[in-house]
């Protein structure tokens, strides 16, 4: 027992230090354009000599990014007017910048003036198909119900996406499938599908062989790019806000944004390099590689911190819960059920539930990981204690070994194999699940995975996934050692040599 306490102490609770001093937190969603715009904003503030900038980028979709800014976890992020009126204000009729600002005021939010380009949904087909059938407008599709569509899941579900478009134009397609945005272009050019949804500023639209269909009956609303910011940030950081306005507002037109996206998506430049290029500076590949190496170091520490802290908390709470469950059958079953139900919530959903309660960042990620790690620990402890040899327990009764001494000297050591198996399972799960923390700005290796997915860049994904797998392996080895140390020698003799 003393060893166990020591082991916990060594693991230590390393909760991330609270944020101090003046800092601007820049957010973004997890797609190329959002990363690039956020990075331009961050560099604009930095080069204007503003406060320290913290990049909390890659925050999934509108839901997470909006909650992050509303909760104050980020100060601003790039957003689109159409999305704000539909997804946030829930009123498609609110269109003008002034009307949107008025709608956002009670929420403590505001927007910048438009950055200069619009990013709307559009449909695209292959050039040869377009030439053969004379398809240049969306209404031309009505005459070709034999075509096959593949749309992103957001587009398929949103009323300003496929459902609305189909009604508006009276469209019918032979088949409609769901596809990842990053894979859609490949599916289109390879001929496995005929129609895909695109963003009008996609970098890939610079590639030959793709034709964007004209929205001739004006279905898609305007999605003018703006910065969605907290009002208190704008008033307390006038200089930073002025620097942002100066660098971004009215500075990027449609073709310019397509070029920036193409630089990132097609020429594999990092968001930092693209942003620097836009601001008239240069970040060389060597600088970028060195920065990536530094970033990997930081992410390793973040990941490790998340895992160790979540696991330590889960052990501190799960062990007593497991003991309690083994002591009282009724409370025990209720408790095991409750912890089991937690486990059925998908990890990503659990992370998202944390946002309204705790915002985004390390703390909610930690809480979600902690809750997730509880089940194997509680169950391992419970099983270990509930299946102890009854005769050995009776002998403890006769010998008068009671209370803490009985638990620490006899029961926990005898159950140690099962208890440690639970903790080991929890540790390895947590290393894996912690990659999801990046979706809510919790940092760790997932940051690279999310970014790589958004940029369709396998190398970036692997740069996050491989170290995460290695860390899981290391934890496995570490626990083999801990097993040797914590499972009493005499017990190992028994398990090694079953009678």
């Amino acid at each position: 027992m003393r060893r166990l306490a020591l082991a916990l102490l060594v693991l230590g609770v390393t909760i991330a230090p609270a944020l101090a001093d003046d800092v601007v937190r820049v957010g973004s969603k997890s797609f190329t354009e959002s990363y690039v715009l956020a990075e331009i904003a961050a560099q604009a503030i930095e080069s204007a000599g503003g406060p320290r900038v913290e990049r909390r980028v890659g925050l999934g979709g509108t839901g997470i990014a909006y909650r992050a800014v509303a909760h104050g976890s980020v100060d601003f992020y790039p957003e689109y007017t159409g999305t704000i009126s539909r997804a946030i204000l829930k009123d498609a009729g609110i269109e003008s910048v002034a009307a949107i600002r008025q709608g956002l005021r009670p929420l403590g939010l505001t927007i910048s003036d438009p950055l200069g380009f619009e990013n709307t949904y559009a449909l695209a087909v292959r050039a040869d198909l377009s030439a053969r059938h004379g398809i240049t407008r969306i209404s031309d599709l009505v005459a070709h119900p034999e075509l096959r569509g593949a749309f992103t899941s957001g587009f398929l579900e949103r009323d300003d996406g496929w459902p609305g478009l189909r009604r508006h134009y009276g469209l019918a397609l032979a088949s409609v499938r769901t596809i990842e945005h990053a894979l859609a272009y490949q599916a289109l050019t390879s001929g496995s599908v005929d129609v895909i949804d695109v963003f009008s500023t996609d970098g890939r639209l610079t590639q030959p062989g793709i034709v964007v269909l004209r929205d001739d009956r004006r279905f898609f609303p305007d999605y003018a790019a703006v910065l969605l910011a907290r009002t208190d940030f704008v008033t307390t950081h006038p200089h930073a806000w002025a620097a942002l306005t100066h660098a971004l507002v009215g500075r990027i037109d449609g073709p310019a944004m397509i070029r920036l996206n193409a630089l990132a998506d097609l020429q594999r430049r990092s968001a930092r390099q693209v942003a620097a290029w836009f601001l008239g500076r240069e970040v060389t590949d060597a600088e970028e590689r060195a920065r990536l190496a530094r970033e990997l170091g930081t992410l390793t520490l973040e990941h490790l911190g998340l895992v160790v802290a979540a696991l330590s908390l889960a052990v501190l709470v799960g062990l007593p819960l497991g003991i309690l469950a083994a002591r009282s059958p009724v409370a025990g079953q209720a408790e095991l059920m409750a912890v089991g139900v937690l486990q059925t919530i998908p990890a990503l959903a659990l992370l998202c539930f944390m946002i309204p309660l705790l915002g985004i960042g390390t703390v909610p990620a930690l809480v979600a990981l902690f809750l997730y790690a509880l089940l194997p620990i509680v169950r391992g402890t419970y099983t270990g204690l509930a299946t102890l040899d009854r005769q050995l327990l009776e002998i403890a009764d006769v010998l008068g070994v009671e209370g803490w001494r009985r638990l620490a000297r006899l029961e926990l050591p005898l159950a140690s194999v099962s208890v440690l198996a639970g903790i080991k399972t929890a540790a390895i799960w947590t290393v894996g699940t912690a990659t999801l923390a990046a979706f809510i700005g919790g940092g760790g290796y997932g940051t690279l995975i999310v970014r790589g997915l958004a940029l369709d860049d396998a190398r970036t994904i692997l740069a996050g996934a491989v170290p995460a797998a290695l860390m899981a392996l290391l934890f496995h080895l570490l626990f083999e050692l801990i097993d040797r140390w914590l499972v009493p020698h005499g017990l190992r003799l028994v398990t090694a040599r079953p009678r």
């Binding site: 005769q391 009764d397 001494r405 050591p413 005499g490």
Partner: protein, 248 residues
């Protein structure tokens, strides 16, 4: 020392003990004899307060024992079970010291006591560092005995202590127990199915069958004036037939 009065115990439809009474006088060795399933282990566990009797009462040193009231037994009763009942994660020394540590005995005094007991059962220092899995069956049984004796209780309850041993080791240990009981001057209640062990160790006997007392008395009483034919049958079953005795 031990008084059992009209104790009954049922497990569902099975009668484990049916109106069992017995007395164990101080300084005597009483044997609970019977085949497996006769209720002798259950009776021992009722006496220890590990199992509640449905009716009747148990007194140890004059005080009633129930699962709720058994604190006065701690330190007064040593308990040895089949295969020793040792904790596999503790060394021999750790197992033996356990009850004394739980009672807060000073370490110095305890070490002396452990050495005494080791000498009693013929163990050297190195043996105290071993784990139960590294011991033979007979050695484990000796450790169980040391642990039962560490607090020097006046009462010793043994539940088939030699039941899991092979015949030669068993015979050796029976002789050793006989010698030990002679020296220790304890009140002993021994559960066994072995007639030879009974004759060698016991001064009085309770023969149980299906939870019921068949006969109580000395071995001579049971052998000469059996209460039922079953008594003779039971005693004879384990005796080699006369035509074979010539070979031994």
């Amino acid at each position: 020392m031990i008084a059992v009065r009209h104790v009954g115990k049922r497990y569902g439809a099975t009668v484990a003990l049916d109106d069992v009474s017995l007395d164990v006088a101080p300084g005597t060795i009483h044997v609970l004899l019977g085949s497996s399933g006769s209720g002798k282990s259950t009776l021992l566990r009722v006496i220890l307060g590990l199992v509640a009797a449905d009716h009747g009462e148990v007194l140890v040193e004059g005080a009633p024992v129930t699962p709720a009231r058994r604190a006065h037994l701690i330190g007064r009763v040593g308990y040895v079970v089949q295969e020793g009942g040792l904790y596999p994660h503790l060394t021999v020394g750790g197992n033996v010291r356990l009850p004394a540590e739980a009672r807060g005995r000073p370490p110095r005094e305890l070490e002396t006591r452990v050495r005494e007991l080791a000498a009693l059962v013929g163990f050297d220092e190195a043996m105290l560092q071993r784990y139960p899995a590294e011991l033979s069956g007979g050695q484990r049984q000796r450790v169980g005995l040391m642990r039962a004796l560490v607090l020097d209780p006046p009462l010793l309850l043994l539940d088939e202590p030699l039941g899991a041993l092979d015949p030669i080791v068993r015979a050796d240990l029976q002789a050793e127990l006989h010698r030990l009981f002679g020296r220790l001057n304890k009140t002993v209640l021994l559960v066994t199915h072995d007639v030879r062990e009974t004759v060698l160790l016991g001064s009085t006997i309770t023969l149980l069958r299906a939870g019921r007392v068949v006969q109580q008395g000395t071995f001579a009483d049971l052998a000469r004036t059996p209460a039922e034919p079953f008594v003779t049958e039971f005693l004879r079953a384990q005796t080699p037939p006369p035509e074979l005795r010539a070979y031994l």
